[in-house]
């Protein structure tokens, strides 16, 4: 492309709705993903509030059990596939090209398509709630034979999963192709920011795991409509096989949900501690180690299924093993803070809360890895508490931190720090009020996925529901913060923070529509 044409491009930012429909610009696509993710977060959150409203007191007051099961199922599908995964892809799109000094993603048109698949797919899922029989109601894990029983809603959910999976796979291919081929000269792999590393590794996990999910739900579809019996004992199949295939995807999936979060934290803490990230190469190897191990632990989700003893022992040991590289990462973040010179703006508050509260979730995970003990925890609220601590406090809090951290770069304005702190404290306190009691509910014997419960579980459920409502409504503060920063506020410099590391801080704020048309020099 000639220089004259390139300069002409730089001056023209397209306008109107067609800009957003046809954009191939990684910043625009990042913005689309992030807004989509936030909207889905609120939709999924509303479903959670239906759940918590029903569980406020024993008895059935708000919904009927079948609709409750639909809420439980679709809440999880939306949060995982509609909020967290697209959110991180939004961060990847915005930040990865800038972080490696590339002008855009490797495949910009496929990038556009990867995004626009999402609203289409999720509207199928939402539509499933309104068809006869309602939406999927077998939990997000859709185990057969229960999921074979459901009506058309299950088929819509399967199609949604296929399309969302396609989007993720295309996005992952794009990310790997970009990082492998378009880094600025001088940026060796071991010089890349950790956020880039965690996303590359996540992309490999996506490519290996998502097709397996596609296989599993395709077999479910043929069992439902085309006379196969993969998962039906009467037909010579095995329902437990679905669980094996599902969790072979499912366990790497949870690392897909958390590794980009680890990357964001690794960018934020060094900036606000004014100290380099401790143990960069260990962090890379620990991340790779976690990704590799994630493929050999899946059956810890299935300890009660009737596995042979050797299987139970193997998966117990391999699951316990993952604690080691995970611990290494936590200790490295602590060591980055140690003897730093810290300030506590909102991004740093979120990063610290992520480390602290993810640790809580990780430690309960360690408890669950112990097979004999898990026989009491499995399918109880102890599990529900665990995964909300790791996903909400691990992934979502890290994304909030990332939003506050990079918002000045995206909008050109500093966000309102007071509002940010309000959002932070309300979120973190309300989260703990909602989910900490659920550990005790699990111990006391409350199963998961029930719309109504025995009287001894009443007190903690009431507390949890109150927390849930505060948590939900507090997220509107974030909406206000973002809109306010888009419209105005104190002008942000290129650096924004106190001497941060990374190529994104060498371009002006807001970042120009096209950056690094010529590759920067990396020493």
């Amino acid at each position: 492309m000639s220089t004259a044409v390139a300069d002409h491009h730089h001056d023209e930012v397209p306008k109107g709705i067609t800009r957003w429909l046809f954009t191939t610009n990684h910043k625009d696509i990042g913005t689309l993903y992030l807004w989509f993710s936030f909207i889905m977060f609120l939709v999924g959150g509303a479903m959670a509030l239906v759940i918590r409203a029903e569980l406020f007191q024993p008895g059935l007051q708000v919904v009927d059990p079948h609709f409750y099961n639909q809420m439980v199922t679709v809440h999880a599908l939306i949060m995982i596939f509609g909020a967290v995964m697209p959110g991180f892809v939004g961060f990847a799109n915005w930040m990865l090209p800038m972080m490696v000094g590339a002008p855009d993603m490797a495949l910009p048109r496929m990038n556009n398509w990867s995004f626009w698949l999402l609203p289409f797919a999720t509207s199928l899922l939402i539509a499933s709630l309104f068809v006869p029989g309602g939406g999927p109601a077998a939990g997000w894990t859709i185990y057969p034979p229960l999921s074979v029983q459901g009506g058309m809603g299950v088929d819509l959910a399967i199609f949604t999963i296929h399309i969302l999976g396609m989007s993720s796979i295309l996005g992952a291919i794009n990310i790997i192709a970009t990082i492998m081929n378009m880094r600025a000269p001088g940026m060796t792999l071991m010089k890349m920011p950790l956020f880039v590393w965690t996303w590359v590794i996540t992309a490999f996990l996506l490519i290996a795991a998502m097709p397996v999910l596609a296989g599993a739900v395709t077999m479910l579809l043929t069992d439902r409509h085309f006379g196969t019996a993969f998962f039906s004992a009467a037909g010579g199949g095995d329902p437990v096989m679905f669980q094996h295939i599902f969790w072979f995807f499912g366990h790497p999936e949870v690392y897909i949900l958390i590794l980009p979060a680890f990357g964001i934290i690794s960018q934020i803490i060094p900036t606000f501690a004014r100290k380099p990230l401790f143990g960069y190469s260990s962090m890379v190897f620990a991340t790779a180690g976690i990704a590799f191990l994630s493929f050999i632990v899946w059956a810890h989700h299935m300890y009660t299924v009737g596995m042979p003893l050797s299987g139970e022992l193997f998966f117990m040991y391999s699951t316990m093993l993952i604690a080691i590289p995970t611990g290494v990462k936590i200790f490295n973040w602590l060591a980055t803070m140690w003897r730093g010179s810290m300030t506590f703006e909102t991004p740093m508050l979120y990063a610290i809360a992520t480390v602290a509260l993810f640790t809580v979730g990780g430690l309960t995970g360690l408890m669950m890895s112990i097979t004999p003990a898990d026989f009491q925890y499995h399918d109880t609220y102890f599990i529900v508490a665990h995964f909300h601590y790791v996903i909400f406090c691990g992934s979502v809090l890290a994304m909030f931190g990332g939003v506050y951290y990079w918002l000045p770069k995206w909008t050109g304005h500093m966000y309102d720090e007071t509002l940010g702190k309000w959002h932070f404290w309300l979120t973190v306190i309300a989260f703990n009020v909602t989910f900490f009691p659920q550990h005790f509910l699990g111990f006391a014997g409350m199963p998961r996925r029930i719309p109504d419960y025995a009287l001894q579980f009443a007190e903690f459920n009431m507390v949890s529901s109150i927390g849930g409502f505060v948590l939900g409504f507090s997220q509107l503060i974030l909406l206000w913060v973002v809109i306010k920063a888009i419209r105005g506020g104190k002008k942000a410099t290129a650096e924004v923070w106190d001497n941060p590391e990374g190529l994104e801080w060498t371009v002006p704020s807001p970042a120009p529509y096209h950056t690094f048309a010529t590759a920067p020099e990396v020493r």
Binding site: P145, M337, R339, S341, T371, P447
Partner: protein, 267 residues
């Protein structure tokens, strides 16, 4: 002056928090604000309980260390206090230590866990067999050696669920036909299902297992104390998953035999 008052306030708050913790802690024995696993009445449940307490202590200590280091750093290494950032970003010694020590802790945890699992999976030498079949939404029980068989479903009336009647003490944990078992005898449970996957779980009796259509799982229990123990289905099985509880009466041998006889007369 202000700093001193802040220190006093902080100390007072910590003291208050400590007092509250100490005041609340004995209450953890209460069922209503139940903070721990239910009281075990079988050897397996006891082994699970002890293992659970062991790992809970270990993770609590780890948590205190992590939070402690973190809060200390936040308090001490602040720019507002004039802290200067250090330059280090490596320490092989530290990294080796915090890889090796957790590994040793994990091995320490794996040993009793393995022992417990071996105990749980040994269903040999049982005194009797009970077949449990999960249905949407209730349990079929077959005392195969005695030719006694019945279906057990939720006994809580709909009016309590919708709230037109006040809820009874065993709301959602009562059934029309209880399982009756003799105390001190090793019972081998065979679990299966008719339609979808269910799971049979009575916390105090220890452990749970999935009931899978077309397959038979096994589990064993030996109750050491007479009493009534309640549990619930523990695998999502459709709209009334939350409404198919389990009630087990553990009784003396003589009473068990008498009950078997009366059940036979019924059929």
């Amino acid at each position: 002056m202000i700093a001193k008052r802040f220190n006093k306030l902080r100390t007072a708050l910590f003291a208050a928090a400590g007092a509250i913790v100490i005041w609340v802690a004995p209450g953890t024995a209460q069922a209503e604000w139940g903070l721990n696993l239910q009281r075990p009445v079988t050897e397996i449940a006891r082994v699970q309980f002890d293992l659970h307490m062991l790992i809970m202590y270990i993770v609590t200590v780890i948590g205190i260390i992590v939070f402690g280091v973190m809060f200390y750093s936040i308090a001490k290494f602040r720019k507002s206090k004039g802290a200067q950032p250090a330059k280090f970003s490596h320490s092989t010694k530290a990294e080796v230590l915090w890889t090796v020590i957790p590994t040793l802790i994990l091995i320490g945890m794996a040993v009793p866990s393995t022992k417990a699992l071996l105990l749980m999976e040994d269903t040999t030498d049982s005194d009797m067999v009970l077949k449990v079949t999960g249905y949407q939404w209730g349990w079929q029980y077959d005392y195969m050696e005695e030719d006694v068989s019945f279906f057990s479903k939720l006994a809580t009336p709909q009016s309590q669920i919708t709230g037109t009647e006040t809820k009874g003490e065993n709301y959602l944990l009562e059934v029309n036909n209880h399982v009756v078992l003799p105390v001190g005898k090793k019972v081998r449970l065979l679990l299966t299902a008719k339609d979808v996957i269910h799971a049979w779980w009575v916390p105090q009796l220890g452990g749970k297992k999935d009931a899978i259509p077309g397959f038979i799982n096994e589990m064993w229990i030996r109750a050491d104390e007479t009493g009534t123990y309640r549990g619930q289905c523990a695998e999502l099985c459709g709209k009334d998953h939350g409404y198919m509880p389990i009630v087990v009466d553990v009784v003396e041998e003589a009473e068990y035999q008498a009950w078997i006889e009366s059940q036979k007369k019924k059929s």
